[in-house]
């Protein structure tokens, strides 16, 4: 009931606000897609990635190239590019499956930066200038406009949310949590840690690439500056703010993070906006982890129950 209500309010949003806030709303949906994937990876399976910007880039460049070079329609280009992102994610996850602690972080960080170098060097990917996306005429049977794109993103986020919360509420979610907390126990009941760790990596890479394709279309271009190491850390800051215990935390974190960042930046800061983004995500990481490692979701649970049940990491 509540979900239906929220859904209809969000669907009515385009007719209530101006173009700027519609753009911010679309941006929030894209952040939510990435954050849900990061939440599966970090909160559920207990792994870390500092290279997720690379998967976002795969989605962005992949969708753009499939549309521009092969003339594919947007939706199929987006889907295929995202599946490709998921495949690369599975490979990286497989590479890092036995790694603990800083090793996985360093490996994914190097992966992200290596991909960025590749973007800057490849002629076919526009080198440091990036690529301009061909304009979109229609999206999922609707003529393209910022409003229809916003509605498309809303639908996509809703779909992914329902899908994720269903599979995470069942066998897959339990297996991931068990690997995170008690890997020996997981193996004793027939759970293959390798399979599920790689699965979580692939799933979150798929969602990042999905978000990347949408982001590219929203901006109208794909540029290497949008996929730096700092972006990967920012994705991390978003889930840390929201809390990693549940994908609801990721949704909350993404919405709040983007909203506050935009608000604060326009009021406080007069320098280049990248610097503010860095300061903001750095500050969020330090503050939340020192004060309330469970993030907003952990705070909510603490408030609802006398004893917190979720663990931060």
């Amino acid at each position: 009931m509540l979900a239906l209500f929220c859904g209809s309010v969000l669907a009515g949003f385009p007719w209530l606000v101006n173009a700027y806030w519609l753009y911010i709303g679309s941006l929030i949906f894209i952040q939510i897609l990435i954050a849900m994937g990061m939440s599966v990876l970090m909160g559920y399976s207990g792994q870390i990635s500092l290279g997720h910007a690379a998967f976002v880039a795969i989605g962005a460049y992949g969708t753009l190239l499939l549309r521009a070079e092969a003339g594919w329609p947007f939706l199929s280009a987006l889907l295929v590019a995202s599946l490709f992102g998921g495949l690369i994610g599975a490979l990286v996850g497989r590479l890092g499956v036995r790694l603990k602690g800083p090793y996985l972080a360093v490996l994914t960080m190097a992966f992200g930066m290596a991909c960025l170098t590749l973007l800057g060097r490849s002629d076919g990917l526009g080198q440091h200038a990036g690529l301009i996306a061909p304009p979109l005429k229609s999206i999922a049977f609707l003529p393209y406009s910022p409003t229809s794109f916003y509605l498309f993103l809303l639908f996509l986020v809703g779909l992914v949310y329902v899908w994720l919360s269903t599979i995470l509420g069942g066998k897959i979610g339990r297996a991931l949590k068990c690997i995170r907390d008690q890997e020996h126990l997981a193996e004793s009941v027939g759970i293959s840690p390798t399979y599920y760790k790689v699965l979580a990596f692939a799933l979150s890479a798929f969602l990042a690439a999905l978000a990347g394709g949408c982001w590219m279309q929203l901006l109208g271009l794909a540029h290497p500056d949008n996929f730096t190491f700092q972006h990967s850390v920012q994705f991390l800051a978003v889930v840390v703010l929201g809390g990693m215990g549940h994908i609801k935390g990721a949704v909350l974190g993404a919405a709040l993070f983007t909203f506050i960042q935009v608000q604060l930046e326009s009021q406080l800061f007069d320098g280049p906006s990248a610097y503010f983004g860095w300061i903001f995500s750095g500050g969020i990481l330090i503050l939340i982890l020192s004060l309330e490692p469970g993030g907003l979701w952990g705070l909510w649970q603490k408030w609802n129950r006398p004893k917190p049940a979720s663990r931060a990491l």
Partner: protein, 287 residues
């Protein structure tokens, strides 16, 4: 030609070696992988730069002041980071990295600066095919070598060094011997910040002083630390120097912007081959 490439590579290598050593010291004594190591160095180099603008003659005094400042900064940093879980601490250092990056960009702007050295950087003592080795290389190699030598002497021959080693290897028994392990950990953090800080000052003439100057250096430092298994100080230093030469050869014969790819390739290689690092001890399944 080859000589030039190798010596210039060693100059890069001493930056990587110092960074890798700094990271290994921190990780070994506190289990924290410090992602802010490079940006701490960058920030302190900027402060050093601002000091030099105010007082151009005071290079050496300011240098010593900066190293001391770094030491105390690291000391305080260790006190400030919550240590409940090493993963949380690691992510906090990531946050610190972003914060320092943003603040440096905000305070000093994105334009590259030139860090003045008190001696003629152009005074060439070796030249071939337009490639020159300057007194800068000498300064780089000497100061890195001095610091590394000093650190190894400190670790091996002084009671402080022995206390740090004891804390790294058996924190519980070190504490039961009456050592103040918290303070020793903070001192180790301070030493690592000092080491990393010097890396920043050596890097500034090689790559111009700008907020993003340590991105690639940090990655290469990590690659070297991973090769040393994050726990072998000697391994980290050795790997750092090798990496510097390798990078320079690659830059000359292939392309100068392959740092990240080289680092990724090397990290992936070592993790596939020996996940505990070349010099690291094998982990045993803990039931």
């Amino acid at each position: 030609m080859m000589l030039y490439l190798l010596i210039n590579g060693l100059a890069f290598g001493s930056i990587y070696a110092l960074l890798a050593l700094a990271m290994s010291i921190t990780y070994k004594s506190t289990d924290i992988a410090n992602f802010a190591q490079g940006e701490l160095a960058m920030f302190s180099t900027y402060i050093f730069f601002s000091g030099l603008l105010l007082w151009p003659q005071g290079f050496w005094l300011l240098l010593i002041l900066m190293l001391a400042f770094n030491f105390f900064g690291g000391f305080l940093l260790q006190k400030g980071i919550p240590t409940s879980s090493s993963k949380v601490s690691m992510i906090i250092t990531l946050g610190l990295q972003m914060l320092l990056l943003g603040c440096a960009g905000w305070l000093w702007g994105p334009e590259p600066r030139h860090l003045p050295l008190p001696f003629e950087a152009g005074s060439v003592w070796f030249e071939e095919e337009g490639l020159a080795l300057s007194s800068y290389h000498l300064w780089n190699l000497l100061s890195a070598g001095l610091l590394l030598g000093g650190l190894f002497l400190l670790m091996r021959n002084t009671s402080l060094g022995l206390a740090i080693q004891a804390t790294q290897q058996h924190p519980e028994s070190a504490a039961s011997l009456g050592l103040n392990t918290q303070r020793i950990k903070a001192i180790a953090f301070g030493l690592s910040a000092l080491t990393g800080g010097l890396a920043g000052m050596l890097a500034a003439p090689l790559t111009p002083l700008e907020p993003t100057m340590m991105w690639n250096n940090l990655l290469m430092g990590f690659a070297a630390a991973v090769w040393g298994g994050f726990r072998s100080l000697k391994g980290a230093v050795l790997a750092g120097y090798c990496l510097g030469m390798l990078k320079n050869l690659l830059a000359y014969y292939l392309s100068p912007d392959l740092d990240a790819m080289l680092a990724f390739g090397l990290i992936a290689l070592v993790l596939l081959w020996r996940p505990q690092g070349i010099w690291g001890a094998k982990q045993v399944r803990n039931l």
